[in-house]
């Protein structure tokens, strides 16, 4: 062994010894990453007022419907002023979604016939959805601008035009969830890609 080789060998030994020390040190320092806490303590409590201001949804059982009531007679002038330009004078002329129309025997031929328009009367399964959607999104030029009583009035008018309630029906938080929609039982939870059917309560 030459002097140079011997020196290199000695260096290698010391490097190995040093590496061993380093390994031991890092093993201690990096033993366990912290586990995810149950709570981070980030965010702040929402006040009841904040929740009330934003919680505008309405469920099929009527939860979320506000005070107030109206009849179709209240809704007709509001529809003419705010809705007819897009949906037609009687809710059937368009140019946007056709809202009014029933089918003989409340048939549901939509898978078989592409030309049959989907309306509130022949397709929508829940009357509460009409109130919820108008209140949150209509009219598109001023969404969210209608008062709750105006939304009740429009809901009553559309249900009346679809022959789902009589002309004198008073629509409010008590009566709206009770309106039976013809297509309600046509809807099935998708067997592929849908949620556990047990999660969807029977109406």
């Amino acid at each position: 062994m030459s002097a140079v080789t011997a020196a290199r060998a000695a260096t290698c030994v010391s490097v190995v010894a040093f590496a061993g020390t380093l390994l031991a040190t890092t093993a201690v320092a990096h033993a366990q990453p912290p586990t995810m806490p149950d709570r981070f303590g980030i965010g702040r409590p929402a006040t009841p007022a904040e929740i009330a201001a934003w919680d505008i949804d309405v469920r099929p059982d009527g939860v979320g419907l506000p005070p107030g009531s109206a009849t179709q007679a209240d809704g007709a002038p509001i529809f003419a002023a705010r809705c007819a330009a897009c949906h037609g004078k009687t809710g059937t002329e368009g140019p946007n979604d056709r809202l009014v129309g029933r089918l003989p025997n409340d048939a549901f031929p939509f898978g078989r016939e592409a030309s049959v328009p989907h309306t509130i009367g022949n397709y929508w399964p829940y009357a509460t959805t009409v109130f919820d959607y108008i209140r949150r999104a209509m009219p598109p030029d001023a969404p969210g601008s209608l008062k709750d009583t105006e939304v009740y009035a429009l809901t009553a008018y559309l249900l009346y035009l679809n022959e789902l309630v009589p002309a004198d029906a008073v629509i409010d938080a008590g009566s709206l969830p009770k309106v039976k929609m013809p297509a309600r039982d046509r809807f099935v939870v998708s067997p592929r890609g849908g949620p556990n059917p047990k999660l969807v309560p029977k109406p």
């Binding site: 904040e50 949804d57 898978g111 049959v116 959805t129 949150r136 969404p143 890609g193 849908g194």
Partner: protein
């Protein structure tokens, strides 16, 4: 770096010929109007604060009011550039101030809470690649002159970063009886969907970043729900509220719109997961090809996890060969497939067929039509689609009857 006249003059003989106007243009910070005849003989433009595409590259979304489509024929990888990610919105793209943005989580929880954007970003974060796809991503009546963009441009893939919904649900203490939650946007449609809590506990995310930077306004800035593999409509953008409940809310979108009428006079609802699909993006209309070796390339994806195989046929579906899949094959993300084909110059029909890790095979159009019926909505339509390579090298989409 400043480009001096001396730099340019000492370059080479070709550069010396530059006139004064050319020199002024070379020194300006804007990119040159046209490529130099020999770019190695002209000093290039200096560094810039914000990059741009090469002037000759002009990929464009196809925008039509409430939606815009990704130009798949111009893309070759798996990630969709953020400015080409498809759009679909129901009340326009809202301008949300990140400083005043807040997310409310309430309902069947122990602690109703508000989170600012800064607070959402403080939670332990995750990053994943995921495709999004509008469930109406199909044009049943497309003519032969149809691009991949027009046929299936309502799907894109991004890398998303955010906080798992499960983390937020632990923070507020979701009660055991809560099985659904409402997700609501702060757009003009205040779009709402009901989502099973199971999905939140699986892989749902509140995403605030897309491809490494803040989400684009069109994709939900400053924060959106991301439900990997599910129909895009349910991944509510501009997310402002989550409400826990023991039942679905039956919103307009999930009852009157995103439901699938069937031939048996019923309609499916809550058909969340996007089934496996593939699409050849090259060659495709309006490309022209020449005889010889052609790399057939496309994307495949499935909401059920990973793409297991993509078969390619160059004889109209009589025989199929497994294409090469680009690794890594990521779950619920666009997967690039490629197949080498030596074209003999005679008219041919090429098509692709995806198989996902559940064993599901992408159906033919007639199988779908039989199940759904001739009047079925476009939602969740994922048929095998074909391109015709004509003898003159032009490529057109091959329309097929629905029923």
């Amino acid at each position: 770096m400043k480009v001096t006249r001396r730099d340019l003059l000492t370059g080479a003989a070709g550069v010396v010929a530059l006139g004064t106007r050319d020199l002024a243009r070379a020194q300006s910070p804007s990119p040159p109007a046209a490529a130099a005849a020999d770019p190695s003989k002209v000093r290039g433009k200096p560094a810039s604060a914000l990059g741009q595409r090469a002037p000759s590259e002009k990929p464009q979304r196809l925008a039509r009011g409430t939606s815009s489509q990704t130009p798949h024929q111009d893309l070759v990888g798996t990630i969709t550039p953020s400015d080409l990610h498809f759009e679909r919105h129901h009340g326009g793209v809202p301008a949300v101030d990140p400083k005043t943005y807040a997310l409310l989580v309430h309902g069947m929880v122990d602690r109703p809470m508000m989170f600012t954007l800064a607070e959402l970003k403080r939670f332990a974060s995750v990053t994943r690649v995921s495709f999004l796809e509008c469930s109406g991503n199909f044009n049943r009546n497309a003519p032969p002159e149809t691009t991949p963009q027009q046929l299936a441009g309502l799907t894109s893939t991004s890398e998303w970063t955010g906080v798992p919904v499960a983390t937020i649900f632990r923070e507020v203490g979701v009660r055991p009886q809560a099985t659904w939650f409402l997700a609501e946007g702060t757009d003009a449609a205040m779009l709402t969907r009901s989502i099973p809590v199971e999905k939140a506990m699986d892989d749902a995310m509140i995403a605030y970043a897309q491809n490494g930077e803040a989400i684009r306004p069109e994709q939900g800035y400053p924060a959106r729900l991301l439900l990997p593999g599910w129909e895009g409509n349910a991944s509510v953008k501009w997310l402002r509220r989550l409400e826990l409940s023991d039942r679905p809310f039956m919103t307009r979108e999930e009852t009157s719109k995103y439901t699938d009428p069937l031939a048996n006079d019923t309609a499916r609802m809550f058909s969340f997961v996007m089934d496996a699909r593939s699409l050849i993006t090259s060659p495709s209309y309006p490309q022209t090809v020449t005889r010889g070796w052609i790399e057939i390339s496309g994307i495949a994806w499935t909401g059920y996890g990973r793409i297991q195989r993509v078969d390619v046929s160059t004889d109209g579906g009589r025989t199929w060969t497994a294409a090469r899949l680009q690794e890594p094959v990521l779950s619920k993300a666009h997967t690039r497939f490629r197949h080498l084909w030596n074209w003999d110059g005679s008219e041919a029909v090429i098509m692709s067929r995806a198989v996902d890790e559940t064993g599901y095979v992408q159906p033919t159009r007639s199988v779908l039509a039989k199940e759904r019926g001739p009047g079925a909505a476009n939602y969740h339509s994922n048929p095998i689609t074909a391109w015709v390579i004509r003898a003159d090298g032009t490529v057109v989409y091959k329309p097929e009857p629905w029923a």
